[in-house]
């Protein structure tokens, strides 16, 4: 509680700042020029992102003001370096009481996440991003996240932007996986861990179902279990590959194609078959404080997972998403269908090869500082028939911005299917309350 009080007082004392994290400092604007509220992007921020971290319609990337290397000062370094610090101030989990060893669990004030990112431009039309994350709940190791180079405006303004490296494919989708407005709440796992072992899930992670793996009984190419709630495939937040996108006909149409390793690997590239994807997005309206867009994608997997026998299978995903913004209201949702092919012949009777998921989220900016949100998730799970369990969750969240880079969040996830019973993790979790503090510098 002392830490919460410290953050609150600190927020009250701080003056309203113009210069905040990296880009805001670099361009001398406040966060809300690009964000509906940090971290979700607004239309202007989306176009800045699409243009490889350069102002929309330009090829500059800030090189006009760039100094010689010998003149670089800490001020200039801060134009490229950002730090996010998240604190899980309070977490209360209510599990079913009829399950042995369950009951309420409360955790107080544990540092959760430290994320460092550097983003910018090397030169005209050449940008970069590197981010690393430390999840203190799991280890104190610094894990490399995205790391890629962008080459922008190939063939003309907005014709083609290239990204190469570990990237987040869904960055331009109507409902981007990264920059979630709902704070991610992780799972609690117990042994067995290891090769072709599926950990016991003491607490389900209520992640967006449309982006989740959805299958029970799948493993990545390093034989680690892919949990059904994990973001994967097109919606992975970091996958090695090449991505091309652009708006050659104007703001109304965006195309995206890409090739990925698809193996869900932390490092290396054992999947020589490669996955590929295509996405198109239509944008409507740019006035009356209103805009809408509609996206569709197809992701074709190729030997990108394994089953417990060690055989390779292919996972593919097809999805649509829409987003609508009007004044203080922001609504977005996605529906995806996943398919597993190339199953060993002996498994076809015990493995459901199709799964689907839907996620709908809405936010309302009630005041300049208060953002209220609601999210609905439904997963029609696939995979091993003996263990697969569908899940349906409803969550609400209140996020209060003490400053535009400092927020306090209260979130409540409710399991809408806990009355159906069963011993699986997806039914065991009844309620999850959490309270977080996030600061971005």
């Amino acid at each position: 509680m002392g830490i919460i009080l410290m953050f609150t007082l600190w927020g009250s004392w701080m003056q309203d700042a113009y210069a905040l994290p990296a880009f805001a400092r670099k361009y001398q604007v406040n966060c809300n020029v690009c964000h509906t509220r940090q971290p979700r992007l607004n239309s202007f921020g989306e176009q800045f992102l699409e243009n490889g971290y350069q102002m929309p319609g330009t090829e500059d990337g800030g090189i006009v003001e760039k100094l010689k290397y010998g003149d670089v000062t800490l001020d200039q370094v801060s134009n490229y370096l950002g730090i996010l610090f998240g604190l899980n101030a309070l977490e209360n989990t209510q599990l079913r009481r009829d399950v042995p060893g369950s009951g309420d669990q409360t955790d107080i004030a544990s540092p959760t996440i430290l994320r460092m990112f550097t983003i910018g431009t090397f030169a005209k039309n050449v940008g970069f991003l590197v981010d690393s994350t430390t999840l203190f709940a799991q280890s104190s190791d610094l894990e490399l996240g995205r790391a890629f180079v962008t080459v922008n405006n190939l063939g003309g303004m907005d014709w083609a932007h290239l990204r190469v490296g570990r990237l987040d494919p869904s960055a331009y989708f109507s409902f981007a996986t990264d920059r979630p407005q709902f704070i991610p709440v992780g799972p609690k796992l117990a042994p067995p861990f290891g090769s072709f072992a599926t950990p016991a899930v003491d607490r389900w992670a209520p992640m967006p179902s449309a982006f989740a793996s959805k299958f029970y009984g799948l493993f990545d190419r390093s034989r680690t279990a892919i949990m059904p709630y994990e973001s994967t495939l097109y919606n992975s937040d970091k996958e090695l590959g090449i991505d091309l996108h652009g708006r050659p006909f104007g703001n109304w149409f965006l195309y995206q194609v890409g090739i990925l390793n698809g193996g869900n690997e932390r490092a290396g590239d054992s999947n020589h078959s490669k996955d590929w994807y295509v996405m198109t997005r239509f944008d409507y309206a740019q006035s009356d404080y209103f805009s809408a867009n509609l996206s569709g994608f197809a992701y074709f997997g190729n030997h990108n997972a394994k089953v417990s026998t060690g055989a390779d299978v292919s996972r593919s995903r097809y999805g649509v998403a829409a987003r609508l913004r009007y004044k203080w209201l922001d609504v977005y949702g996605a529906y995806t269908i996943d398919r597993v092919t190339d199953l060993p012949s002996g498994m076809s009777a015990t493995f459901d090869a199709t799964a689907s998921g839907v996620t709908v989220e809405t936010h309302a900016l009630v005041t300049d500082r208060l953002l209220l949100g609601v999210r609905f998730d439904h997963m029609d799970a696939g995979g091993l028939l003996a263990t697969r369990t569908s899940a349906t969750f409803l969550a609400w969240q209140a996020k209060y911005y003490l400053r535009s880079n400092l927020s306090m969040t209260i979130r409540h996830d409710m399991n809408l299917r806990d009355a159906e019973g069963g011993m699986s993790a997806a039914r065991n979790l009844r309620n999850l309350f959490s309270m977080d503090l996030t600061a971005v510098f």
Binding site: Y18, Y27, Q28, V29, N30, N32, V33, H35, T36, R37, N42, S43, F44, G45, Q47, Q54, M55, P56, G57, T58, E59, D60, G61, G62, V64, E65, M157, D158, F249, G250, N251, W252, F253, T280, F282, A285, Q286, S287, D288, Y289, F290, S291, L294, G296, A298, Y318, V320, R325, K327, W328, I337, R339, L365, T367, D368
Partner: protein
């Protein structure tokens, strides 16, 4: 079956959209104004809106419940001018804002080439053609120029008080005058607006140099409570510069 149906619908939508837009896209000629429109539609439209009314989809989030919202170019109420209050800005005024941006709210578009910024300037004027029908007259800067000195700044304080700047900006210039504290200030859209903190020149929307400040004082910021002091300072050139020097002296870094 579900997947094939989904993809078929998506393919049809893509082709129909493409045919509908390619024809209008190809028909655009390349005059300065039309080139300016193309740039506007990529660089400016998300905040200023398709029709220049300051109602783009990103406009609301920048300043949801308080000023400033992006400029509405159709009402001809330009804030940053070198011309008398109520008149149109010069082309150079528009070009300057595009180049420098507005601290806190609008990034600099110096990444556009000079030619492109002039093309956007030409296009912006199309939103309020009546306003730009006559050539604007530029307000003359007071002559002689008085360079900064502590003595001049001290004299400027009495001008500051005489003009009642403290009512909004406060006695210490921190933007905490009585009118501001009572939340009585609103812009032309009725949105609550705060007074500029004069001790932080990096945040001055119309620029923080002496030249910028004298321009703001003489022309005012149309659409905001900041009036033009051109009439009050008529024939008082030295006092005008003393006032500017006093404002400059409020900055700890000056």
């Amino acid at each position: 079956m579900r997947v094939q149906t989904l993809m078929s619908y998506w393919l049809c939508l893509s082709i129909a959209g493409l045919i509908g837009h390619v024809s209008s896209w190809a028909a655009l000629a390349d005059s300065d104004i039309q080139l300016g429109q193309k740039i506007y539609e990529r660089s400016c439209v998300t905040c200023h809106g398709e029709f220049g009314k300051g109602d783009g989809p990103a406009a609301f989030y920048n300043s949801a419940y308080s000023a400033p919202r992006p400029r509405d170019f159709t009402v001809g109420n330009y804030k940053f001018r070198s011309t008398p209050s109520g008149e149109a800005p010069t082309d150079q005024d528009i070009f300057r804002v595009l180049t420098n941006g507005i601290p806190g709210y609008m990034p600099s578009f110096s990444g556009l080439s000079e030619e492109q910024r002039w093309q956007v300037t030409a296009y912006l004027k199309q939103f309020s053609p009546d306003l730009f029908r006559e050539s604007p007259t530029v307000v003359d800067l007071p002559d002689p120029f008085i360079p900064f000195s502590l003595k001049s700044a001290q004299q400027g304080r009495s001008v500051y008080l005489e003009m009642e700047c403290q009512a909004c900006h406060g006695l210490d210039g921190r933007g905490t005058g009585a009118t501001t504290l009572m939340n009585d200030l609103a812009d032309s859209r009725g949105l609550q607006i705060s007074s500029t903190d004069l001790t932080f020149p990096q945040s001055f929307k119309n620029g923080g140099t002496g030249q910028d400040i004298i321009r703001t004082v003489l022309t005012g910021l149309d659409g905001t409570p900041m009036p033009s002091y051109e009439a009050q300072l008529q024939g008082r050139s030295e006092d005008a510069w003393h006032l500017v020097n006093y404002v400059l002296s409020l900055s700890p870094t000056h």
